[in-house]
Symmetry: C2
Subunit: 157 residues, 2 copies
DNA sequence: CCGTATCCATTCCGATACTG
DNA sequence: CAGTATCGGAATGGATACGG
Protein backbone atom coordinates (compact mmCIF):
# COMPACT_ATOMS: atom_id res chain seq x y z
CA UNK A 1 0.00 0.00 0.00
CA UNK A 2 1.38 3.37 -1.03
CA UNK A 3 -0.01 6.76 -0.28
CA UNK A 4 -0.46 9.18 -3.14
CA UNK A 5 -1.54 12.75 -3.30
CA UNK A 6 -3.87 13.07 -6.22
CA UNK A 7 -4.57 16.04 -8.46
CA UNK A 8 -7.21 17.25 -6.07
CA UNK A 9 -5.07 17.34 -2.98
CA UNK A 10 -6.59 14.29 -1.38
CA UNK A 11 -4.34 11.56 -0.13
CA UNK A 12 -5.43 8.28 -1.62
CA UNK A 13 -4.25 4.81 -0.75
CA UNK A 14 -3.39 2.73 -3.75
CA UNK A 15 -2.79 -0.96 -3.76
CA UNK A 16 0.09 -0.72 -6.19
CA UNK A 17 1.14 -4.29 -5.73
CA UNK A 18 2.03 -4.33 -9.41
CA UNK A 19 5.41 -5.29 -10.65
CA UNK A 20 5.74 -1.85 -12.17
CA UNK A 21 3.82 0.64 -10.04
CA UNK A 22 4.85 3.51 -12.28
CA UNK A 23 2.97 2.27 -15.31
CA UNK A 24 0.08 4.66 -15.88
CA UNK A 25 -2.07 1.84 -17.19
CA UNK A 26 -1.53 -0.11 -13.98
CA UNK A 27 -2.39 2.95 -11.92
CA UNK A 28 -5.54 3.52 -13.91
CA UNK A 29 -6.53 -0.10 -13.53
CA UNK A 30 -5.98 0.24 -9.82
CA UNK A 31 -8.68 2.90 -9.77
CA UNK A 32 -11.26 1.55 -12.23
CA UNK A 33 -10.17 -2.06 -12.72
CA UNK A 34 -13.08 -3.82 -11.08
CA UNK A 35 -16.52 -5.01 -11.94
CA UNK A 36 -18.44 -1.82 -11.20
CA UNK A 37 -16.44 1.40 -11.21
CA UNK A 38 -16.53 1.97 -14.95
CA UNK A 39 -20.25 1.27 -15.07
CA UNK A 40 -20.84 3.80 -12.33
CA UNK A 41 -18.88 6.38 -14.29
CA UNK A 42 -20.80 5.37 -17.40
CA UNK A 43 -24.13 6.00 -15.69
CA UNK A 44 -22.89 9.25 -14.22
CA UNK A 45 -22.12 10.41 -17.76
CA UNK A 46 -25.57 9.22 -18.70
CA UNK A 47 -27.18 11.46 -16.10
CA UNK A 48 -27.28 9.45 -12.89
CA UNK A 49 -26.94 11.64 -9.83
CA UNK A 50 -28.40 10.02 -6.75
CA UNK A 51 -27.49 6.90 -4.85
CA UNK A 52 -30.69 5.24 -5.97
CA UNK A 53 -30.07 6.31 -9.55
CA UNK A 54 -26.86 4.37 -9.58
CA UNK A 55 -28.31 1.47 -7.70
CA UNK A 56 -31.17 0.99 -10.11
CA UNK A 57 -29.20 1.51 -13.29
CA UNK A 58 -26.36 -0.81 -12.38
CA UNK A 59 -28.20 -3.31 -10.24
CA UNK A 60 -25.26 -3.32 -7.86
CA UNK A 61 -25.77 -4.26 -4.21
CA UNK A 62 -26.22 -1.26 -1.96
CA UNK A 63 -23.25 -1.88 0.28
CA UNK A 64 -20.93 -2.38 -2.67
CA UNK A 65 -22.27 0.73 -4.33
CA UNK A 66 -21.58 2.76 -1.22
CA UNK A 67 -18.06 1.40 -1.13
CA UNK A 68 -17.36 2.12 -4.80
CA UNK A 69 -18.77 5.62 -4.58
CA UNK A 70 -16.53 6.27 -1.60
CA UNK A 71 -13.51 5.07 -3.49
CA UNK A 72 -14.33 7.03 -6.61
CA UNK A 73 -14.75 10.15 -4.48
CA UNK A 74 -11.48 9.41 -2.70
CA UNK A 75 -9.74 9.01 -6.04
CA UNK A 76 -11.16 12.29 -7.26
CA UNK A 77 -13.36 11.02 -10.07
CA UNK A 78 -16.60 11.94 -8.40
CA UNK A 79 -17.51 14.65 -5.92
CA UNK A 80 -20.50 15.05 -3.69
CA UNK A 81 -22.00 18.49 -4.07
CA UNK A 82 -25.08 20.31 -2.86
CA UNK A 83 -27.94 19.77 -5.23
CA UNK A 84 -29.24 22.92 -6.94
CA UNK A 85 -32.36 22.44 -4.87
CA UNK A 86 -30.21 22.82 -1.79
CA UNK A 87 -31.80 19.75 -0.30
CA UNK A 88 -29.68 16.73 -0.91
CA UNK A 89 -26.11 16.08 -1.89
CA UNK A 90 -25.69 14.50 -5.27
CA UNK A 91 -22.82 12.75 -6.97
CA UNK A 92 -21.19 14.54 -9.85
CA UNK A 93 -18.29 13.71 -12.11
CA UNK A 94 -15.19 15.81 -11.59
CA UNK A 95 -12.98 16.90 -14.46
CA UNK A 96 -10.90 13.78 -13.89
CA UNK A 97 -14.02 11.64 -14.04
CA UNK A 98 -15.19 13.28 -17.24
CA UNK A 99 -11.76 12.66 -18.68
CA UNK A 100 -12.64 8.98 -18.75
CA UNK A 101 -14.94 9.77 -21.64
CA UNK A 102 -12.46 8.64 -24.33
CA UNK A 103 -11.88 5.43 -22.40
CA UNK A 104 -15.58 4.65 -22.27
CA UNK A 105 -16.09 5.53 -25.91
CA UNK A 106 -13.31 3.23 -27.05
CA UNK A 107 -14.51 0.54 -24.70
CA UNK A 108 -18.04 0.86 -26.05
CA UNK A 109 -16.82 0.69 -29.62
CA UNK A 110 -14.77 -2.37 -28.77
CA UNK A 111 -17.77 -3.97 -27.14
CA UNK A 112 -19.98 -3.28 -30.11
CA UNK A 113 -17.43 -4.92 -32.36
CA UNK A 114 -16.36 -7.88 -30.35
CA UNK A 115 -18.81 -8.66 -27.60
CA UNK A 116 -21.84 -9.47 -29.72
CA UNK A 117 -22.57 -12.41 -31.89
CA UNK A 118 -22.60 -11.71 -35.61
CA UNK A 119 -26.35 -12.15 -35.81
CA UNK A 120 -27.04 -10.42 -32.53
CA UNK A 121 -28.30 -6.85 -32.79
CA UNK A 122 -26.36 -4.19 -30.97
CA UNK A 123 -26.10 -0.44 -30.67
CA UNK A 124 -23.77 1.76 -32.65
CA UNK A 125 -22.36 4.88 -31.06
CA UNK A 126 -23.75 8.05 -32.58
CA UNK A 127 -23.19 11.72 -31.87
CA UNK A 128 -25.83 14.24 -30.82
CA UNK A 129 -26.98 14.59 -34.39
CA UNK A 130 -27.48 10.88 -34.85
CA UNK A 131 -24.58 10.26 -37.18
CA UNK A 132 -22.31 7.34 -36.47
CA UNK A 133 -19.16 8.19 -34.55
CA UNK A 134 -16.17 6.97 -36.53
CA UNK A 135 -13.86 4.48 -34.89
CA UNK A 136 -11.58 6.24 -32.42
CA UNK A 137 -7.99 5.62 -33.44
CA UNK A 138 -4.94 7.11 -31.76
CA UNK A 139 -2.85 9.12 -34.19
CA UNK A 140 0.62 10.63 -34.15
CA UNK A 141 1.01 14.37 -34.31
CA UNK A 142 1.12 14.22 -38.10
CA UNK A 143 -2.18 12.36 -38.23
CA UNK A 144 -0.60 8.98 -38.90
CA UNK A 145 -2.67 6.24 -37.22
CA UNK A 146 -0.82 4.32 -34.53
CA UNK A 147 -0.99 0.59 -33.87
CA UNK A 148 0.01 -1.75 -31.11
CA UNK A 149 2.80 -3.03 -33.35
CA UNK A 150 4.60 0.29 -33.47
CA UNK A 151 3.59 1.99 -30.24
CA UNK A 152 4.30 0.76 -26.74
CA UNK A 153 1.34 1.15 -24.49
CA UNK A 154 3.28 0.41 -21.34
CA UNK A 155 4.56 3.58 -19.71
CA UNK A 156 7.02 3.37 -16.89
CA UNK A 157 6.66 6.59 -15.01
CA UNK B 1 -24.99 -16.95 -17.13
CA UNK B 2 -25.67 -16.60 -20.82
CA UNK B 3 -23.93 -18.37 -23.62
CA UNK B 4 -22.67 -16.30 -26.50
CA UNK B 5 -21.08 -17.18 -29.77
CA UNK B 6 -18.28 -14.71 -30.28
CA UNK B 7 -16.75 -13.39 -33.48
CA UNK B 8 -14.44 -16.35 -33.64
CA UNK B 9 -17.01 -19.07 -33.41
CA UNK B 10 -16.24 -20.05 -29.87
CA UNK B 11 -19.04 -20.29 -27.39
CA UNK B 12 -18.23 -18.19 -24.39
CA UNK B 13 -19.98 -18.02 -21.09
CA UNK B 14 -20.61 -14.49 -19.92
CA UNK B 15 -21.76 -13.48 -16.50
CA UNK B 16 -24.10 -10.79 -17.76
CA UNK B 17 -25.72 -10.28 -14.43
CA UNK B 18 -25.95 -6.60 -15.30
CA UNK B 19 -29.14 -4.66 -15.23
CA UNK B 20 -28.71 -4.00 -18.93
CA UNK B 21 -26.88 -6.94 -20.49
CA UNK B 22 -27.07 -5.36 -23.92
CA UNK B 23 -24.90 -2.40 -23.06
CA UNK B 24 -21.63 -2.86 -24.98
CA UNK B 25 -19.70 -1.21 -22.17
CA UNK B 26 -21.08 -3.73 -19.70
CA UNK B 27 -20.17 -6.57 -22.02
CA UNK B 28 -16.67 -5.24 -22.46
CA UNK B 29 -16.28 -4.86 -18.71
CA UNK B 30 -17.43 -8.43 -18.33
CA UNK B 31 -14.43 -9.50 -20.39
CA UNK B 32 -11.67 -7.17 -19.18
CA UNK B 33 -13.15 -5.64 -16.03
CA UNK B 34 -10.86 -7.18 -13.49
CA UNK B 35 -7.53 -6.55 -11.90
CA UNK B 36 -5.33 -8.34 -14.43
CA UNK B 37 -6.82 -8.83 -17.88
CA UNK B 38 -5.98 -5.40 -19.22
CA UNK B 39 -2.44 -5.64 -17.91
CA UNK B 40 -1.99 -8.98 -19.61
CA UNK B 41 -3.18 -7.45 -22.87
CA UNK B 42 -0.90 -4.50 -22.24
CA UNK B 43 2.12 -6.77 -21.87
CA UNK B 44 1.11 -8.80 -24.90
CA UNK B 45 1.17 -5.58 -26.92
CA UNK B 46 4.53 -4.86 -25.35
CA UNK B 47 5.95 -8.13 -26.65
CA UNK B 48 5.17 -10.73 -24.00
CA UNK B 49 4.62 -14.15 -25.52
CA UNK B 50 5.25 -16.90 -23.03
CA UNK B 51 3.59 -17.82 -19.76
CA UNK B 52 6.67 -16.80 -17.85
CA UNK B 53 6.87 -13.54 -19.77
CA UNK B 54 3.46 -12.59 -18.48
CA UNK B 55 4.13 -13.91 -15.03
CA UNK B 56 7.28 -11.87 -14.57
CA UNK B 57 5.99 -8.66 -16.12
CA UNK B 58 2.74 -8.57 -14.21
CA UNK B 59 3.81 -10.30 -11.00
CA UNK B 60 0.50 -12.16 -11.00
CA UNK B 61 0.22 -15.52 -9.22
CA UNK B 62 0.66 -18.46 -11.54
CA UNK B 63 -2.73 -20.04 -10.98
CA UNK B 64 -4.52 -16.76 -11.56
CA UNK B 65 -2.46 -16.09 -14.65
CA UNK B 66 -3.39 -19.48 -16.06
CA UNK B 67 -7.05 -18.74 -15.37
CA UNK B 68 -6.96 -15.30 -16.97
CA UNK B 69 -5.13 -16.55 -20.04
CA UNK B 70 -7.74 -19.28 -20.40
CA UNK B 71 -10.53 -16.74 -20.21
CA UNK B 72 -8.88 -14.35 -22.63
CA UNK B 73 -8.41 -17.22 -25.06
CA UNK B 74 -12.02 -18.28 -24.56
CA UNK B 75 -13.18 -14.74 -25.24
CA UNK B 76 -11.12 -14.59 -28.39
CA UNK B 77 -8.67 -11.87 -27.39
CA UNK B 78 -5.66 -14.16 -27.30
CA UNK B 79 -4.82 -17.32 -29.19
CA UNK B 80 -2.25 -19.98 -28.57
CA UNK B 81 -0.22 -20.64 -31.69
CA UNK B 82 2.82 -22.66 -32.63
CA UNK B 83 5.95 -20.63 -32.12
CA UNK B 84 7.95 -19.91 -35.30
CA UNK B 85 10.59 -22.20 -33.85
CA UNK B 86 8.00 -24.96 -33.92
CA UNK B 87 8.86 -25.88 -30.39
CA UNK B 88 6.46 -24.30 -28.02
CA UNK B 89 3.05 -22.75 -28.22
CA UNK B 90 3.00 -19.04 -27.47
CA UNK B 91 0.25 -16.59 -26.68
CA UNK B 92 -0.57 -14.04 -29.31
CA UNK B 93 -3.11 -11.26 -29.55
CA UNK B 94 -5.92 -11.85 -32.00
CA UNK B 95 -7.42 -9.06 -34.07
CA UNK B 96 -9.98 -8.56 -31.33
CA UNK B 97 -7.21 -8.32 -28.77
CA UNK B 98 -5.28 -5.83 -30.81
CA UNK B 99 -8.45 -3.80 -31.14
CA UNK B 100 -8.10 -2.96 -27.47
CA UNK B 101 -5.23 -0.70 -28.45
CA UNK B 102 -7.33 2.50 -28.41
CA UNK B 103 -8.70 1.52 -25.01
CA UNK B 104 -5.22 1.05 -23.58
CA UNK B 105 -3.95 4.26 -25.13
CA UNK B 106 -6.79 6.32 -23.66
CA UNK B 107 -6.41 4.55 -20.36
CA UNK B 108 -2.69 5.27 -20.32
CA UNK B 109 -3.27 8.91 -21.16
CA UNK B 110 -5.84 9.14 -18.41
CA UNK B 111 -3.43 7.54 -15.96
CA UNK B 112 -0.66 9.91 -16.89
CA UNK B 113 -2.96 12.84 -16.27
CA UNK B 114 -4.81 11.79 -13.17
CA UNK B 115 -3.02 8.99 -11.39
CA UNK B 116 0.21 10.80 -10.58
CA UNK B 117 0.89 13.53 -8.11
CA UNK B 118 1.70 16.90 -9.61
CA UNK B 119 5.34 16.68 -8.56
CA UNK B 120 5.64 13.01 -9.35
CA UNK B 121 7.43 12.20 -12.58
CA UNK B 122 5.58 10.06 -15.09
CA UNK B 123 5.81 8.90 -18.66
CA UNK B 124 4.20 10.57 -21.63
CA UNK B 125 2.98 8.48 -24.51
CA UNK B 126 5.06 8.97 -27.65
CA UNK B 127 4.88 7.46 -31.10
CA UNK B 128 7.62 5.46 -32.80
CA UNK B 129 9.44 8.66 -33.73
CA UNK B 130 9.49 9.92 -30.18
CA UNK B 131 6.99 12.71 -30.62
CA UNK B 132 4.24 13.07 -28.07
CA UNK B 133 0.95 11.46 -29.03
CA UNK B 134 -1.80 14.07 -28.84
CA UNK B 135 -4.68 13.46 -26.51
CA UNK B 136 -7.09 10.98 -28.03
CA UNK B 137 -10.49 12.61 -28.32
CA UNK B 138 -13.55 11.06 -29.93
CA UNK B 139 -14.87 13.18 -32.76
CA UNK B 140 -18.02 13.26 -34.84
CA UNK B 141 -17.85 12.58 -38.53
CA UNK B 142 -17.32 16.26 -39.20
CA UNK B 143 -14.35 16.41 -36.86
CA UNK B 144 -16.23 18.07 -34.06
CA UNK B 145 -14.90 16.83 -30.69
CA UNK B 146 -17.44 14.97 -28.59
CA UNK B 147 -17.89 15.23 -24.84
CA UNK B 148 -19.71 13.31 -22.16
CA UNK B 149 -22.19 16.18 -21.93
CA UNK B 150 -23.46 15.72 -25.45
CA UNK B 151 -22.84 12.06 -26.20
CA UNK B 152 -24.33 9.11 -24.36
CA UNK B 153 -21.78 6.44 -23.72
CA UNK B 154 -24.34 3.88 -22.68
CA UNK B 155 -25.46 1.73 -25.58
CA UNK B 156 -28.41 -0.56 -25.21
CA UNK B 157 -27.94 -3.21 -27.84
C1' DC C 1 10.05 -23.99 -19.28
C1' DC C 2 4.82 -24.57 -18.84
C1' DG C 3 1.69 -25.04 -16.44
C1' DT C 4 -1.50 -27.66 -12.67
C1' DA C 5 -2.92 -28.68 -7.81
C1' DT C 6 -3.53 -27.48 -3.25
C1' DC C 7 -3.95 -24.65 0.81
C1' DC C 8 -5.16 -20.59 2.98
C1' DA C 9 -6.28 -15.61 3.51
C1' DT C 10 -8.51 -11.81 1.69
C1' DT C 11 -11.67 -9.50 -1.05
C1' DC C 12 -15.90 -9.15 -3.51
C1' DC C 13 -20.54 -9.52 -3.91
C1' DG C 14 -25.58 -10.14 -3.14
C1' DA C 15 -29.46 -10.27 0.02
C1' DT C 16 -31.53 -8.60 3.72
C1' DA C 17 -32.49 -5.98 7.70
C1' DC C 18 -32.02 -1.75 9.79
C1' DT C 19 -31.43 3.47 10.96
C1' DG C 20 -31.67 8.73 10.28
C1' DC D 1 -34.26 8.60 0.04
C1' DA D 2 -29.57 7.59 1.53
C1' DG D 3 -27.09 5.06 3.24
C1' DT D 4 -25.05 1.39 7.19
C1' DA D 5 -24.61 -3.38 9.41
C1' DT D 6 -24.26 -8.02 9.04
C1' DC D 7 -24.08 -12.52 7.09
C1' DG D 8 -22.58 -16.12 4.00
C1' DG D 9 -21.07 -17.72 -0.32
C1' DA D 10 -18.18 -17.08 -4.26
C1' DA D 11 -14.25 -15.33 -6.48
C1' DT D 12 -9.65 -13.69 -6.17
C1' DG D 13 -5.03 -13.85 -4.84
C1' DG D 14 -0.38 -15.40 -3.04
C1' DA D 15 2.72 -19.14 -1.97
C1' DT D 16 4.33 -23.35 -2.64
C1' DA D 17 4.77 -27.88 -4.23
C1' DC D 18 4.45 -30.92 -7.94
C1' DG D 19 4.58 -33.19 -12.76
C1' DG D 20 4.89 -33.00 -18.18
Amino acid sequence: MVSLRNSFGGVVGLSLTWTDPNCPVARAVDVIGDRWSLLIVRDAMDGARSFTDFQQRTGIARNILADRLRKLVAHGLISQVEAPSGKRRVYELTAAGKDLFPVLVTLRQWGERHAFDADEPHSVLVDDEGTVVPRVVPTAGDGRPLTSDTTSVRGRG
